[in-house]
């Protein structure tokens, strides 16, 4: 069974898998009743640059409105960037069109945040996971069924339930289905857009462990988008911090967590409550100090 034609060389070159340079996504703001004029732009992503080495995870953190999800969508060409370049191995993604783009999509997939809206309620679990294979005409019907079963097993979902519908399963189980779908085409890069934000803590841990295992077993590269700094700490090798469309800090995870250089990064880190009352009191004092330093009101 063919795995789909490879648009990019399969051997790891050791260089970064993904390099984003000066990425921009500006949304025009239109006004007017009959003739809509563009009165300004919302700069959701405003000059973001980073790269991800193969097999590693870059954690993209920021609060709501920072543009992190938009960045992820731009990389996958789900939104057309208004500026910048995106280099995926040796291919420039922003100039791809049509068939070339479709073929490139096999190498980069996405796991969504909301387990309820990310699966088509009218499709069975089996057809949801099989869809990527169908779209790219990979394998025969029987071969696809077999592959779907294996994919579901790998993500810890009972493969005997391929005839059921998403609404019959819990949030954690649905996320597993979503992950299986993302793995179907054996991508090299997976954008995880807040994959555990909608899950309970105990289920979060299961899914995060699963993502870690999959990365190790299949050599996956992750762009892990999240607002939860603790989650990113456990997943990311490198971390990039976004604020209002701009990248304010990027670097090795340990470095950034222990010695944040940017003021916003520091404010972000001290704001996260940790499950330790004594430590939390210290952090509160730290926060107060930062506030005094900044001397800007809320």
């Amino acid at each position: 069974m063919t795995e789909g034609s490879a648009l990019v060389p399969t051997a790891s070159t050791g260089g970064p898998l993904l390099t984003v340079t000066d990425l921009e996504k500006h949304f025009p703001v239109r006004q007017g009743i009959l003739w809509e004029r563009t009165v300004g732009y919302v700069k959701a992503v405003d000059g973001v640059s980073f790269s991800i080495p193969e097999g590693k995870t870059l954690g993209l953190v920021g609060e709501s409105g920072s543009g992190k999800s938009t960045t992820g969508y731009c990389i996958l060409q789900l939104l057309k960037p208004t500026g910048g370049t995106i280099r995926f191995q040796d291919t420039e993604l922003t100039t791809l069109k049509g068939e070339d783009l479709r073929r490139a999509r096999q190498h980069m997939q996405i796991v969504f945040q909301d387990p309820y809206s990310s699966l088509d309620p009218r499709m069975t679990v089996g057809s949801i996971v099989a869809e990527p294979l169908e779209v790219h005409r990979i394998g025969t019907r029987k071969g696809r069924t077999e592959r779907v079963r294996r994919l579901l097993e790998v993500v810890g979902f009972n493969p005997n339930f391929t005839n059921r519908y998403p609404h019959e399963f819990s949030g954690g189980q649905r996320q597993r289905i979503g992950i299986a779908r993302a793995l179907a085409l054996s991508p090299k890069l997976i954008v995880c857009d807040e994959p555990v934000s909608a899950l309970d803590v105990s289920i979060q841990a299961q899914i995060l462990n699963l993502l870690k295992d999959l990365q190790r077993d299949f050599g996956l590269t992750y762009l892990f988008i999240s607002h939860d700094l603790a989650v990113v700490r456990t997943m990311a090798d490198e971390i990039a911090v976004m604020n209002q469309g701009k990248l304010v800090e990027v670097g090795a995870a340990e470095e950034v967590y222990l010695h944040p250089k940017d003021e916003y990064t520091r404010a972000l880190f001290t704001a996260v409550p940790v499950p330790d009352p004594r430590r939390q009191r210290e952090r509160k004092a730290e926060r107060a100090r930062l506030r005094l330093d900044r001397a800007t009101g809320m």
């Binding site: 299961q206 462990n209 456990t234 009352p277």
Partner: protein, 336 residues
């Protein structure tokens, strides 16, 4: 005497599939000026507990089948709707999770505040407006007088939550119930809101009952903590004690499953996942409710016996046959 004393509260939802035992025998008390945090995952019954206290559960299909909610000695479950309305807002106030939907989008916020004030106090519109401006300033909204005439959509999420807090505090309640007050907010705003709540609580000597799924928030604000699972408290202790010496296997697992922000070796490590899923509240197991997911389940036949809450350390109650202190290994504080 405790300000709020909940005794063996049981709230069931009667549905086609059967009786959902959302809250099944919960007891706790909140003292004046203290904060109790109820922590648990979704579906454990913590929100229903809060709503039951306020009498805000939909009846039918819900019903408080047993127990008492004593506020200042009065049993709230026995009050009529009319009497409850006098209590709500004035004695006990509640703030909710989603500031988008808890404020009426068609009314100016000034109106929403003055409406509450005039419901409970006999004051003129002008006096109410003045008080409203004071309140907005107290919760840290700049340019308060002008903002009175703005609509909710003209405020950001954090601001809206502040407005909600202002409305809640307008009538000087003695108890504030906060149901996931910061879950929908960005982390920096969350910190500000928690700081605000703490400041106001101390200033007014209010009791605070905070409901959340976030252990970090608990660590930040709670004096005492109750861990809830499948409609019951499985552990209850002062906050420091709980984090230092978690006794119940669920609490331990919950703390172990939390991604750590501080420490070393985090990237390489694995989180302690709790296998399985919380039980269906309609179809609860006969004995211990946590048994199917408990790592100590096989030690003896404790799974078949429903466990009671008992004191294993001073002031520290646990509902388990195998609390950590009985298991024999040394406890280490959670802080790294």
């Amino acid at each position: 005497m405790a300000l709020l004393d909940v005794q063996n509260l049981k709230t069931y939802f009667y549905t086609r599939e059967g009786a959902v035992q959302a809250v099944d025998g919960v007891s706790f008390s909140v003292e004046v000026g203290r904060t109790l945090g109820i922590v648990g995952e979704s579906g454990c019954g913590k929100s229903v507990t809060a709503l039951s206290i306020m009498g805000l559960i939909p009846r039918p299909p819900a019903k408080i089948v047993d127990g008492a909610v004593l506020f200042d000695g009065r049993d709230l479950t026995k009050l009529s709707e009319h009497e409850l309305e006098d209590v709500r807002g004035k004695e006990i106030a509640m703030i909710f999770q989603d500031p988008m939907t808890s404020l009426n989008p068609t009314f100016k916020i000034g109106t929403q505040i003055t409406e509450t004030l005039r419901r409970h106090f006999d004051i003129s519109k002008a006096a109410a407006r003045l008080r409203a401006v004071e309140l907005l300033e107290e919760v840290g909204i700049p340019d308060a007088a002008a903002r009175l005439d703005d609509y909710p959509h003209q405020f950001s999420g954090g601001m809206r939550q502040r407005v909600m807090i202002a409305i809640a505090l307008s009538c000087q309640p003695r108890l504030l119930i906060a149901d996931e007050p910061t879950t929908a907010l960005d982390v920096t705003i969350q910190a500000q809101i928690l700081d605000l709540l703490e400041r106001l609580r101390v200033e007014r000597q209010m009791a605070l009952l905070i409901i959340t799924h976030d252990m970090g928030v608990i660590a930040e604000v709670a004096d005492e903590v109750a861990v809830m699972y499948a409609g019951q408290f499985v552990e209850r202790a002062p906050a420091l004690e709980l984090f230092d010496n978690p006794e119940h296997p669920y609490t331990e697992a919950l703390l172990g499953a939390l991604p750590q922000l501080e420490g070393s070796g985090i990237r390489e490590g694995r989180l302690t996942a709790i296998p399985g899923r919380p039980p269906d509240l309609v179809d609860l197991p006969e004995g211990c409710r946590f048994a199917p997911r408990c790592p100590y389940d096989g030690l003896d036949s404790c799974a078949s016996r429903p466990q009671e809450l008992r004191e294993v350390r001073p002031g520290h109650l646990v509902r388990s046959a195998h609390p950590a202190s009985a298991r024999g290994h040394a406890r280490e504080p959670v802080a790294t």
